[in-house]
Symmetry: C2
Subunit: 327 residues, 2 copies
């Protein structure tokens, strides 16, 4: 059994607990928290909740620590810190800062002889794999990534910061016509506006100027101004009843040609339809934790991403079983 | 530049020549043949065609040899033989015999200090990856693989062996309703008949009993008896004009659930639409040749499959570039 720990018990931490309980080759040993441990209630009350200040006492009891904090402020500090003590896995998803995060984590993990795998989930993660495989096998081609339908936390937060907005939820929705054009092999040139629409549900403060709010949303630079955006004002009850889904998904395409005259067209499509974004993300984290454990057992150390991991290492099956039944 | 050789110049060999000519980091150094080299005409006449009997003279001039023979009789002999001299890549696709082939090739390659990668293409190959990743991240679920629309060589050959049949082409076609049921997350139980139909185009000998041929096709054990099969009799001209396409493709699904009560459903779909089956297969072979070269440069040896290869090793980009731009 691979012994797992969790640091941080939010949506991701809960997903790790659930997935670990169902995994045949892993067990959750402890959950570490910055809160008062007495206030954190796990689904399985028999698993200890421990103050993160005591984490160094657990180095012999945990094979892989899964870091379930946020990318904005938690992981840039936590992953390099805990890679000094444990093999670690995180879901750092600020794409632009990955090279810097990688360098920091690599320094810690290499010095400590641990394996750290960063940026695991579905994007970055499974979608990154689809992009890299697609580019490797179709070097002459184009990439398309579509996200949704699903809630964007960043865009929802941006709307919540507008004066007069009490609550908001923003859905990113891929445009069907764009998906179909790509799928048909037309290699279209698509603008930001062509690929996705944005739909916003807003609970306004009493007496707020709804027209002003709608205008501020639709013209917000970077977040909304380059998109066709629809805004709906709803009640708090409606928000609670209809907009608590954690569903998400998306599509990665690589389209390209082969042939002396580029006469042959090929379309590779990878898609995800997920009822629960955090539960699927933690499913990926667990498979990666298994790989991190195997790699460290073989003597590897340092920072890795899912692009550095042989698929067989993610699997619950042996290489012999994979060759016999899945190849 | 990675220096490639080819053994066998049929559809696959031609695809390797074309793809290698377009690759920025590879060059085709020579083509080896069992035929009289003077009778083999390459697209690029400046590349030498050499008798396979002289292949041992080229060990210092070729980094990776791509074996383009057939799985029935060529590769079981050739891959273990040439893995004694070169890093090799093959597209061995007889799923049931992969463990035996792996063992034979591993013995040769390990002893010689070479890397040999077997069973690369799209199935086995890219579809195997989709199955293994899908199972790793959704352990509680079901697998579905659909092939087509495309010509099955084995089924076409089986029809050609029937008395009175001059030529035949058999298309494997996935059933749309089955695809949709899987895609919607219904986790259907599908029989062989539910998943694919078979469509056969036959050129009959003059005076042949067409009703008898049609009956023999539709009742042929293993090949057709478990499928809904349509048979069309056509002229030789029509066969040549309309049935020379090398298009193929297919779909791999992993559907499964997470949640304490399995309340969350997830659907992963990977699909390929290929205008040219052999050209796409050789695109995969070239990416794998790149990985074989990198792995051998790092001191690895022995037999591998695409399941043992870190995605970054298949890529034309450095790991730094991949992290910065594709992760």
């Amino acid at each position: 059994m691979i012994r797992l720990g969790i640091i941080g018990y939010g949506n991701l931490g809960r997903g790790v607990e659930m997935n670990a309980a169902k995994a045949s080759d892993m067990e959750l040993v402890a959950v570490f928290t910055r809160r008062d441990p007495a206030t954190v209630k796990l689904h399985d009350a028999s698993i200890p909740v421990v103050s993160v200040n005591e984490v160094a006492d657990w180095t012999d009891k945990i094979d892989v620590m899964i870091l379930c904090g946020g990318s904005a402020t938690d992981l840039p500090k936590q992953t390099p810190e805990y890679a000094k003590l444990f093999n670690v896995v995180d879901s750092f998803d600020t794409h632009a800062r990955i090279p810097e995060h990688f360098a920091n984590v690599d320094a810690s993990a290499s010095a400590a002889g641990k394996v750290a795998v960063i940026s695991c989930g579905w994007d970055p993660g499974m979608f990154s794999l689809a992009r890299v495989y697609g580019n490797a096998v179709l070097p002459n081609g184009k990439d398309y990534t579509f996200w949704g339908k699903g809630v964007s936390q960043g865009h929802s937060d941006a709307v919540r910061r507008i004066a007069g907005v009490k609550d908001a939820r923003q859905y990113t929705i891929p445009v069907d016509a764009a998906l179909e054009a790509v799928r048909s092999g037309k290699n279209p040139e698509l603008t930001t506006r062509d690929k996705h629409t944005r739909e916003v549900f807003v609970v306004a403060e009493e007496g707020a100027d709804k027209a002003a709010i709608e205008n501020e949303i639709k013209t917000m630079p970077n977040y909304f101004d380059e998109y066709n955006t629809t805004v709906h004002f709803i009640s708090e009850e409606e928000m609670k009843a209809n907009h608590s889904s954690l569903a998400h998904g998306g599509f990665v395409f690589r389209t390209g040609t082969t042939g002396w005259e580029n006469e042959n067209q090929h379309v590779i499509e990878y898609s995800l339809k997920l009822d629960s974004n955090p539960e699927f993300t933690t499913s990926v984290l667990l498979a990666v934790a298994r790989a991190a454990y195997k790699m460290n057992q073989r003597g590897e150390k340092g920072c890795r991403t899912i692009l550095d991991i042989a698929p067989a290492d993610l699997s619950q099956y042996s290489r012999e079983e994979l060759r016999a039944h899945m190849l």
